[in-house]
């Protein structure tokens, strides 16, 4: 894992409060596991509440994976249930917070992370319902794609996962909140200037330099 990713995860872990039920999307969000405290339960769409990472050297339980397909373990107080109950939990907002990756996020909090027409369309999975119904959706992604293009846009161009669903975006460069007025900068990465950040971002950022945190 790169230092940038570790920075994102360390910052993201502060979003999770005691008693929270947390869903970790495939990819970077799954890396949050070791950062979480013990008084949270991790939900997985395939029907597990109370996921834990598999212990070092433990043999896999072949009946026990998370929604990304990784063999996992469980904590005391875990439960297993069918997929309809799992999504009842999601649709009735019993999952308090979810972390997801993104292809694109925009100033309105619209999210695109499931399809690139003509190039990538493996399916939707649980993303659409998690994005639409979990009260707090935090996006964890690189600020720019591998070609350096901004991922934080004025308006998403790819098919949406859900409209107006994102609460907060945490990238290697910044922490931003979706507000009624647009994207408000909360924290900026150590060593980065506000101008450099603006340069790397398509979306207009609302910036109050007197209240800016570093991470």
């Amino acid at each position: 894992m790169s230092p940038e990713q570790q920075r994102i995860l360390a910052r993201a872990a502060r979003e999770v409060l005691p008693g929270h039920i947390v869903n970790l999307g495939i990819g970077l969000p799954t890396g949050l596991f070791p950062y979480l405290g013990s008084d949270v339960l991790v939900h997985s769409e395939n029907g597990v509440l109370g996921c834990s990472p598999r212990g070092d050297g433990e043999p896999p339980d072949y009946d026990l994976i998370d929604s990304g397909g990784a063999y996992i373990g469980t904590v005391p107080g875990a439960s297993f249930f069918d997929s309809s109950v799992s999504f009842a939990m999601i649709r009735r907002s019993r999952v308090d917070i979810t972390f997801m990756g993104a292809f694109e996020v925009d100033e309105e909090g619209n999210l695109a992370n499931w399809k690139i027409p003509g190039k990538f369309s493996p399916g939707i999975g649980g993303a659409m319902e998690l994005a639409q119904k979990v009260p707090r959706l935090v996006i964890l992604c690189s600020h720019n794609d591998k070609h350096g293009n901004p991922k934080i846009l004025q308006r998403c161009r790819l098919p949406l996962t859900a409209p107006r669903c994102v609460s907060r975006i945490i990238t290697d460069k910044a922490v931003m909140d979706v507000t009624a007025d647009g994207l408000a900068l909360v924290d900026i990465a150590e060593g980065l200037s506000v101008d450099e950040l603006r340069e790397a971002t398509e979306a207009t950022l609302i910036i109050d330099e007197t209240r800016l945190g570093r991470f």
Binding site: L17, P18, G19, L41, L49, S79, R91, K133
Partner: protein, 233 residues
């Protein structure tokens, strides 16, 4: 947000969250599964103008029957109230409004709320008296009745065994509507005869995962005795 085990509380504190005018789902089919202790506390605390959703009206003198007799229920949504003559009397005199649904549709309307949908499309009851009360829609060349989901502010459920996070296991025919109302209401208050540490329940045997539970109280087995003894069968 408080800790995972902090929902384990006193019965007074749990029931005090319910305001006048609340809509409350109640588990149980007849006596089995009825949360008698929670209902007694609700009677004692005095909340009024309640809308109750339960399969039945229990029997005169027990369970929600006691709330009805005390004049605290302005509306009852149920499937069958034939075992409670006082509930029937209040329905006939207009003292209490009663909405009757076929039992399986009542269960589905509650379950539909747990899934977060608006409603479902059914052919049950077409060409009967209940059809006239429902919006209909045409799909694939046939007519279907729209049954809206039933949402509620609170649910009261009775479990046999729980852990401190609020994972619940029910017993025998006391399951009935309990897992459904537990998932459908905004705040679910559970009573359990036994409450143990997390890890004491088989994860596959949990009927209601703790994510759906807002408050959990332990009650003595004797708290159900009143229901058992008066039950007519």
């Amino acid at each position: 947000m408080t800790g995972l085990a902090d929902k384990y509380t006193s019965i007074e504190e749990a029931i005090a969250r319910i305001p006048d005018g609340a809509t409350i789902m109640v588990g149980g089919f007849g006596s089995p599964g009825t949360p008698f202790a929670l209902l007694e506390e609700l009677l004692a605390q005095g909340q009024k103008d309640l809308t109750l959703i339960k399969n039945d009206a229990n029997e005169a003198g027990i369970g929600i029957g006691r709330l009805i007799e005390a004049g605290r229920v302005s509306r009852l949504i149920a499937s069958h109230i034939g075992l409670n003559r006082i509930a029937i009397e209040q329905m006939n005199t207009g003292r209490m409004e009663v909405d009757i649904h076929p039992q399986g549709l009542l269960a589905e309307k509650i379950r539909c709320a747990s899934a977060g949908h608006y409603g479902f499309l059914t052919d049950i009851g077409l060409e009967t008296e209940i059809a006239s009360q429902r919006q209909e829609v045409e799909c694939d060349g046939r007519t279907w009745a729209i049954e809206p989901a039933l949402y509620a502010d609170f649910a009261l459920v009775h479990a046999e065994h729980a852990d401190r996070y609020g994972n619940l296991v029910y017993r025998a025919a006391a399951i009935n509507f309990n897992p459904l109302v537990a998932m459908a209401a905004k705040h679910t208050i559970a009573q359990s005869y036994r409450v143990d540490e997390p890890g004491s329940l088989e994860p596959e045997a949990v009927h209601t995962p703790c994510a759906f539970i807002s408050a959990l109280v332990q009650v003595p087995v004797e708290s159900s005795e009143q229901g058992w003894k008066k039950h007519v069968a």
